[in-house]
């Protein structure tokens, strides 16, 4: 889909840019949804959670939270909380990146709890507190033991973090 046709689609469904600067996706499974999603979570019927980068951010501004859309395909109908965590890939073992924050926005319109619907959208927030080029691993799970086998619940991001102007 071209940028022009995406724009026409956005206008057609009455999408506005929110204060966070994030385009609102259309509910349901139809439409060019993947174009506005930064990430996608797929939960298979056995509750194995996979995470995929669709249009991940390549730049962030230091100390500034930015919001992105996460599309969730929930074939298991789970209603548990979806959790995202950030790991520092440069450290041995599974050590969380204390300089990077990732999470699902919790407010009146967005919650980390899955609804059980086959398709839903979550607003997520990313923030990096260190400047420069940073490699971070984002991992997703929906409760104990739901991470998929073989790294498939994880994506690696390389992000250029600029100093706040």
């Amino acid at each position: 889909m071209t940028a022009a046709s995406l724009f026409r689609w956005l206008v057609a469904v009455g999408v506005l840019l929110s204060v966070s600067g994030v385009a609102e996706p259309r509910a349901g499974d139809a439409g060019p949804s993947e174009e506005v999603a930064a990430f996608e979570v797929q939960i298979n019927p056995e509750a194995r959670v996979k995470l995929r980068a669709l249009n991940p951010p390549q730049q962030l501004v230091r100390h500034r939270s930015e919001r992105f859309w996460l599309k969730v395909h929930n074939e298991a109908g789970l209603q548990s909380p979806l959790r995202l965590r950030a790991f520092d890939r440069s450290l041995p073992g599974a050590q969380q990146a204390d300089w990077f924050r990732v999470g699902i926005v919790e407010n009146a319109e967005s919650t980390a709890l899955l609804s059980g619907a086959t398709t839903e959208w979550k607003l997520i927030e990313l923030r990096c507190d260190e400047p420069g080029t940073r490699a971070v691993r984002i991992a997703a799970d929906a409760g104990t033991g739901t991470q998929d086998l073989g790294f498939r619940a994880e994506v690696d991001l390389l992000i250029d973090v600029e100093e706040r102007p």
Partner: protein
Amino acid sequence: MNRPTSMLTCVGVTLLTLCCGRLLTAADWPTVDAIDPQPAAAELRRLIETAEALGEPLAASVADGLDDVRQADDATDAAARLQALLDPLCGLAVVLHAESGPQLVLPQRPGGRGAIELVEQGWRTVLVKVVNTDRLRRRLRIESPNARPLPHAPADEVDARWMSLSLYAGQPASPSLTGLPVEYRFLQIFSREAGEQQAVLECAAPGPSSGHGDSSIAAEWQFRKGTAGWSPANQIELTTEEGSLLVRGTGDDPFMISPLPKPARAGGYVLRFWARAEEPGVGQLFWQTEQRPFPDGGHAVSFQLEPGQEHLYEIAFTAEDTLTGIRLDPNGVPGTMRIDWMELASAERGRDWAAATVPFRTRPSQELLFRVIDDDDRPAMACFEVTDAHGRVFPPQGKRLAPDFFFQRQIYRGDGESIRLPPGSYTIRCSRGPESLPEVQQITVGPGPQEQPLELVYRVKRWVDPSRRGYWSGDHHIHAAGCAHYENPTQGVMPPDMLRHCMGEDLKVGCCLTWGPCFDFQKRFFTGRLDDASQYPYLIRYDIEVSGFGSHASGHLNLLRLTEQIPPGGDSKNHWPTLGLNTLRWAKRQGAVCGPAHSAIGLTRLVDRLPETEGLDGPGGLPTYGIPAFDGIGANEFIMNVAHEVPGPDGSRVPAVDFISTMNTDRTAEWNMWYQVLSAGLRVRASGETDFPCITGERVGIGRVYVKLDGPLAFDAWCDGLAAGRSYVSDGRTHLMDFTARCERAGAVCECGVDGSEMPIAAGDTVAFTVDAAAFRDTAEPLRAELVVNGFPVAQQQLAADGSLAQLTFEHRFDRSGWAAVRIFPGGHTNPIFVIADGQPICEPRSVAWCLRCVQQCREAKMPTYREDERATAEADYDHAEDFFQSLLEKARLP
């Protein structure tokens, strides 16, 4: 064999010399000046993980360098340290440019360019350095004319096509370049034969912004949202299903057509598609150009169909002028074909491709013959993990097909079977399931040809053999498709593959459950009896897990010993009931043995607590009176189902649920659910499962149930024993056999699983319990075996974890009725004996209240998952369950 550069190689080089922007010969080895230390270390870490996943670990010195890179002084230092570690390991480098073509660079070794070492009939990985100073995030492609397929190859190219190669882009590597100025990739190369060879390697990172207008892909067809431009033209029907194009030819001249999204210039092309044709025959490809807008016999090429199997079809042709469309005749007779994807690629290489001729040296491999003898002197199947001195796993994991599973390090081989290994020293870890004592052997494969194959003799030694006491191990939940299994080239794996894994783990019964993925392929293996692949005493049978369809959202169900695989109203998975109890009604009518799968999922998040129970939980929260969210797919609707009886085969009412699955999820949560329903007076038994390869792909039989039978192993009797609880659940290294209760005063003896496991006594009687226990651990620490009564530990004994068998005895005075069992947390648990004092039922008020509150919580969570036409039934079923527990509660509170 010293092979001269092949004709094909020469042609490839000549063409590339004429066409390509960059041809590399002796360029300097590329380096990068600066990378931030953090992403440099992260890149190294990912490389180490990828190498591990491929079974080709990097040298320990590389892993040791992780700290050095991370602690570099600055970006310059980090770049230098990273490259110093990895560059000496590289067989190739690729230099990418955003505005011009790439470069391929071969390393200079002392004494000239060294050949890349390969192994005969095996795969090796070659580390490739990618210098990407423009920070492109495109997909890197490395191909070779020497790796083209042999089917349909011109006769004079057969010798030259000696290799296969693929650039590894699976997890934990990223599918596209990360954008780091330098990164490293693994190129996997297979060699057909030993000797000196050469091959042309070609590379590109084509992207939409390359600006050359000569992308090598002219058209792509994916079928996720329709036929992607293909139209039925004659005697053909086109539909799509699950991302595939289903083609049905209805006459002798079926064909379909597709225009190209935009005209493509004249030249050579290859149409590639991944398909499965069901009938033999010959297909044809026609192409249309601006000058010849209608297909004709002069613009057609035929191809042989490979019926009954997935196949990559590659059909080359040349368009004399601008190409506008293609026509595919899938066969010359009526038939069906499923096409997963198609692409039309230019056979020529433009400016965005580079090439180099690379020397290789393939070492010959030798046959290693396995001799496997069980401790009864019979030939057997066993598990072998073969690694060389560099820690590389054989056969290479990244290129395995069944019966070897790519997601495991080990393979399973029987007596008289073999593998091929290149010269070298190998460590082979041998085992035959958790009841065997693993042993390690070293072998050396010499360089020269051998008259006799090398032999590895593995005599199985066991520390325990429960089958000699009549206990037959089983895993009631394994899969031949879905999760870690592949869907191509076959949709999952076949019954003999699953049997091999069961035999190699000495797992006597494997319940192979067909579920959502590949359902319509795998359903053919259901027969309502043992699979023909079974080899006594190793039995496999195909049944169903309701997962990915039907009532899955309220908790998955294992349905064992079905006589009908699919409910009336359809022949697949889309018409099943959404209410689990409706599924159970259908299954129990057949005499099936049923229970929820992966029980703890949905029970670990507590959202409430039973009033006035603070401080009353058992040790470690087992049992707990916290109320789970019921937000998952484990034993969720189970709490409603256990309150129901449904018609059995003869119409008499039987419990809707026979067992709860244990041993593969959070042990506290799964056992807590079991304990609470037992303490409420219900008589659900525990069984053990793995849910292979979903919960884990490590091996089958990680969670097990050992069922005692009086005679030889038979599947029906085994299921009956499972439902009767004449069994214990185990991780395979914890055994609790012949759990028995005795009451001297009452003169009563009760063996677990016999006569309903019920033991009548008088209130105040003391009951003695015995169990024959054995466990094997790597630690010298003794294990704690506990007698559990109504969910709480009341006595304990120590058990040495050295594999020795010991009879443990416990005593408990029963002032009221209760269930009793022995556990060794988290490795094993007996099923319960029900001690009935003065004829009064087991009925612990707090447990009954917990069950009642859980039914309410589950109703709230799961009602939206039921189809509208089943809601009324669901409401009535939950009402019944609430009434059932309410009634028990009232009885329990009566003085």
